[in-house]
């Protein structure tokens, strides 16, 4: 009995168990401090759906051995270009959303290709280089948001007449196009069916891609580059392809996020976007070199569960909002844990 628990602990790792127990205790405490569990679960699901595609976008790069994509902001930027351009064109509804995706994907593919070329030259140091590529690209685009000739009055600053606003509402364009598709509403309970289906579709695509010959080759390149090379796999090409796929999914992911959130956030807002997504994936059981669809779903759900539950429960319990601090500790603690763990296994 104790042995099997010990094994389970070893397999899941202490941080993950502590966080799961923490979340469980939140759900147990909730009814005692007058918080409806139904609403909480509904909120968790909405936020899960909103963030799921961004978390999913990390998987191809992890599988191909490029590590955790701390440069996810590149994909996010491509998505943002798609979003503001579709609003500039004035396309509304699902067509507007698809236009945004259509514009975002080529940008993401081009950015991803060069990003992949770079990462192939810095093998072993991908993560730290990626972080700063992500940071600098966000700063670069901040200049561009000021300079690019967008004209739609819904997006530019009221005074001066140029430069995009820091937050742009997507209301009247494609707010909730996925969330409201086939959605279910019972009292306070809301299920964003469309977004979940959309996530499921992309997850299925990625999953089946990794079942194909190409996908297997990519996994092999990540598991053991020398062996893969000997087996005739072009490791560098696999890595570039994985980076392109990750970047494209991230660009779609931010659009999914925005249609649910309701706003496009520009300038320095995407700066730290990669970290919560990475933390969620790790929380779901992924490591620096291995990730699955299950990790994405469990991780995104646990992570968003904590983000949803802590503020309300803590607020009612101790009359102050510790959620931000807890978010910082949980997400970065999880990443530090994962970074130190793999080296131990290797020994």
């Amino acid at each position: 009995m104790f042995e099997s628990i010990g094994k389970l602990v070893e397999k899941a790792g202490w941080p993950r168990i502590i966080i799961a127990l923490f979340l469980l205790s939140m759900f147990i405490i909730a009814p005692f401090v007058n918080i409806s569990v139904g609403t909480s679960i509904s909120d968790t699901i909405v936020r899960f759906a909103m963030n799921s595609v961004l978390v999913l976008s990390l998987v191809p790069m992890v599988q191909s051995g490029c590590g955790l994509n701390f440069g996810m902001q590149l994909g996010v930027i491509a998505g943002l270009i798609g979003a503001v351009t579709s609003i500039e064109l004035g396309v509304t509804g699902i067509a507007g959303f698809l236009t945004a995706i259509g514009i975002a994907i080529p940008f993401a593919a081009i950015l991803g290709f060069f990003y992949g070329l770079l990462l192939n030259r810095v093998k072993g140091d991908e993560m730290v280089v990626a972080t700063y590529v992500g940071f600098s690209s966000v700063a670069f685009m901040s200049m561009m948001w000021l300079l690019l000739p967008y004209k739609s009055p819904n997006m530019i600053w009221g005074y001066g007449g140029s430069g995009l606003r820091t937050t742009i509402s997507v209301e009247g364009y494609w707010l909730g196009v996925l969330n409201n598709f086939l959605s279910v509403r019972i009292g306070n309970f809301f299920l964003p069916t469309g977004t979940i289906l959309f996530f499921a579709l992309i997850a299925l695509l990625v999953w089946s891609f990794f079942k194909t010959k190409l996908g297997t080759a990519m996994t092999a390149a990540g598991l053991n580059p020398v062996y893969a090379k000997a087996a005739g796999v072009n490791v560098d090409r696999m890595r570039i392809l994985s980076v392109v796929i990750s970047t494209i999914i991230a660009s779609v992911g931010i659009l999914v996020y925005e249609q649910s959130f309701g706003f496009i956030q520009l300038y320095m807002a995407p700066l730290l976007m990669a970290f919560p997504a990475v933390a969620a994936l790790l929380l779901g059981g992924a490591s620096v070199s291995k990730a699955s669809m299950g990790n994405v779903i469990i991780g995104a759900f646990l992570f968003q569960g904590i983000l949803t539950m802590t503020p309300s429960v803590m607020n009612n319990l101790i009359k102050s909002d510790m959620s931000e601090v807890i978010r910082i500790i949980v997400s970065n603690g999880m990443i530090v844990y994962a970074l130190t763990r793999r080296m131990k296994v290797r020994k």
């Binding site: 993560m127 730290v128 700063a139 510790m322 931000e324 601090v325 970074l339 130190t340």
Partner: protein, 379 residues
Amino acid sequence: MKDQSLTRAKNPLVRFAISNAVPILFIILLIFAIPLSGFSADYLLNEIITRLGRNSFLVISLLIPVMAGMGLNFGIVLGAMAGQMGLIFMLDWGVVGIPGVVLAMLIGMPIAILLGLLAGTILNRAKGREMVTSMILGFFINGLYQLTILYGMGTVIPITSNKLLLPRGYGVRNAIDLLTIRKALDNMWSIQVGGIIIPLGLFAIIAALCIFVFWFTRTKLGQDMKAVGQDMQVAATAGINVDRTRTLSIIISTVLACFGQIIFLQNIGTINTYNSHDQVGTFAIAALLIGGASVAKATIPNVFIGITLFHLTFIVAPRAGKELLGQAQIGEFFRVFVSYGIIAISLALYAWRRQVEKETERRQAKAAIKAAIEDGTGG
């Protein structure tokens, strides 16, 4: 590969230009930007002297981990947080002036040592990816720091001053005045030459630190660190305790960063309790890299050249941006872009060079084996 052949260029002038490409690029940038900004020479000189005074300590704190082969220590934010905690206690106890600064350092030091020990231990478990780990560790400790300051102070940790605490009775305010120690070190033995104020006392402290670092590289521990930095396995077989040496380098770096942050904040005159430390790592590292340092080699001249060039860019970029494009904000974003971009490029170039070297080595080894086999069959 192109990169490597270039560093081997025969012409010494070309070699100099290649190995100092980053500082040269910045000098060229500044040659254009300074006249555009329209600042007077006196103003710029004063600004540079102030910024050298307040940033040198922080940037120097990066040198020792580089020597120990641990790369750029993004974890100096840990030291910065320790320093800020020292300052909070000092303010609560009402000590002013230079004794206050010394007290803050004395309180900050044990916290910095503990945090450094923690960081060193964690980084020893993440060999080969120290930089990204130290960066995320900084974020993680930031969470614990906020927990301590926002919820622990005034409840578990005794802080009584109403000026420090939030109106609700616990947690420290977002912005705290440091009027009681403002420029305490800067004004020590400061002299004025023409229109330029020189804080001789502060510069003496920085000079002492430089001498310390120089002396340290000559000690047994310093030599051990160099050996560990070159090759951990060789160092271990030579009887050096690798993990302990690496941890010590991080502890020293963290303690220096703690002092550095106190010096920085006494010059600024206020603490943003929850933000002041955020960018310490990024800015110090960007400055060091702009000074011509790399992940594997950083010297004291790199520190001073780097701070001068980086902060000149900082001062003139917004004004130049305004003159050139009519928007000061572009200049602001530009300098953020420059600090992140320079780190990205430097790290990428270093990693690339290392990869090329590894491949060349492997190819040479292969050729040697092949030659040996052929020798064997032939003879």
